[in-house]
């Protein structure tokens, strides 16, 4: 999965349409509500992420100017957190947990059953293995291959 937003793509019309402007507005309001202090950097990024579900370049710039931290620093921080996405989530994308317990409980069979699903690291629901997550990060436990094949189409 690419971790850094592609410079050229962020100016391309398609990419700009990939995020919902209302959601962006919500994210900006969330950021505005936070004190303009360095310790609010991660909460500000999370406020944006909660609203937009990923961090377009514009969202990161907005956070940088609100917290008054150089954009390069904000990017360096953003890329260090695995849960902060720099690409829009793919609609209908399923994820199969590939933690050890899920591997033992049949994660490879789930990935075979739903070839479009991708593997993700441990989701901390190991006692309900195998576990899958939908595009909204909702978790499902004790998932059978047929069930996932049906859902992931």
């Amino acid at each position: 999965m690419p971790r850094m937003a592609d410079e050229t793509r962020s100016f391309d019309l398609e990419a700009l349409q990939a995020f919902d402007l209302d959601a962006m507005q919500d994210g900006m309001s969330g950021v505005d509500a936070l004190p303009r202090e360095r310790e609010q950097l991660l909460p500000a990024l999370q406020a944006m992420h909660d609203a937009v579900h990923w961090l377009p370049r514009e969202a990161i710039s907005y956070v940088a100017s609100h917290i008054r931290v150089p954009l390069s620093e904000v990017y360096a921080t953003t890329t260090a957190y695995s849960e902060l996405r720099l690409d829009p989530p793919v609609a209908g994308q399923w994820h199969v947990c590939t933690g050890v317990a899920c591997e033992l409980a049949g994660a490879p069979a789930l990935l075979d059953a739903a070839p479009t699903a991708t593997g993700i690291d441990c989701q901390f629901l190991c006692a309900l293995a195998p576990v899958v997550a939908d595009e909204h990060e909702q978790l499902y436990g004790r998932v059978a291959a047929d069930e996932l094949r049906e859902r992931a189409g």
Binding site: E37, R38, E39, Q40, L41, L42, P43, L45, Q46, H49, I67, V69, E73, A76, T77, A80, Y81, S82, E83, L84, T98, G99, V100, A101, E103, L104, D121, C122, Q123, F124, L125, C126, A127, L128, A129, V131, E137, Q138, L139, Y140, G141, R142
Partner: protein, 495 residues
Amino acid sequence: MTTTAVAPLARLRERYPAAKLPRILVHLGTAGAALGAERYVEELRAALDDRADAVYEAASDGANWAAPSATVFQGTYARRFDRLDLNGIDEVVACFNGDCGDEANYAGTGGRGLTARLGRNNGTLGDVLAQGAYSALDRALDLTPAQLLDAIEQGGFTGRGGAHFPVASKWRFAAAHGDEPRMLVVNAEEGEPGVFKDRHLLEGDPHRLIEGILLAHHAVGFERAYVYINGQARQGRASFEHALEQAREAGILDGGAWNRSFDLEIHVRSGAGGYVCGEESVILNSIEGERPVPRYKPPFATDRGLFDRPTVINNAETLCAVTTVFESPPPPTKLVSLSGDVPRPGLYEVPVDGATTWAGLLAMAGANPGDTQAILLGGPSGVFVMPDQFEDALEMRVLGAGGTVVLGANADLARVTRELAAYNMRESCGECTPCREGTVRMVQLLESPREHRDEIATLIEVMTEGSLCQLGGMAGRPVQSALEQFPSAFDDVSS
């Protein structure tokens, strides 16, 4: 009339009564939600008709194997009904109406200790007060900070996050800094694959953590506390914030309920992923808004930590554990997150009493030691516990954060080892060379480990000695453990 020590607590209990019996608690939480357990709340409410208000949403009691489940609480006993997806709700309704069958006993994993209230309360303050919440704080407030520190020391409490450092010593280091403002950081990041204990504590009994924070505050005196919760543990955060609101409203947070002024700000922060974010100095950087990478030590956090202030960093489980300080003798227990090839995976609170063995733990989970190849203890920083060690007693020092995955007869141990090495490679933050480069090299060498035994041994030594934090420092452990204990598992590819 002089006020007695119990009076403030009695007043609280009077103001916040527990819910009436009989009642039904449906176990939701992250685990219940992942199995669609909400529908049983609706079904039970419909079935109970005019008594629908006796059905409550509750958190998991740790018995994940039983989910989706509901527990009926009658006058003197409680009974849990397991796997509602397979068994339906008829028996639950019958039990609520008085017919609970012959085995009317509670089947949860808890009972006493940290898990005593998990899945047994409906999320109201009254319910947990009735089950003993804030009674340790109430008692501690009669002690001086020095006396409380002594009690913690005598209780033998050590860090439950993995480092096993004596709690009283850490608190004293910070307390020694005179009038300088001090910080408390609660590590509920819980990013180690295979561990899910803090999520259960936050979802099922958040008031216990608040009580632990206030106990630490009474002993040490903090200006601020930051509770740093794993970013994916959204239900845990919501439940903790709800409890904070309840405690604030009841005058518990500011001490008003005891006619005192605690003067402590509590801030809640979420992490945003990354195994390294559970490392304590990374949390400090993360809270300060810096890049989440480890810091060099010294200085130690108790001297200069968060915002350069003397800082105590405690695991969430540690602070929950200290609330048992006045139970005599304090039960030496550890939360073990148990998953893998066992019939009953879930959260277990196991006695670390010198008598409980690995075989005993397997038996609790319904597993046959004879069908078990190994137990992975500690995930990507861990070791493999082999059958010849199953009769060894559990030790706090060895248990780490308590993440255990049981590897049954069909598990591919070499594959598991390689996956752990690959995980460490992905999660290395890149700040120091031994870990950044070493974890990549390790993955390459594990393609044919038996040809590269010397090189792997050297690499592990370099990473252990030279890495900035324990992600790199312990990344070699599972590999070393695997090569020592089951080298032949790697034969298929090394030949």
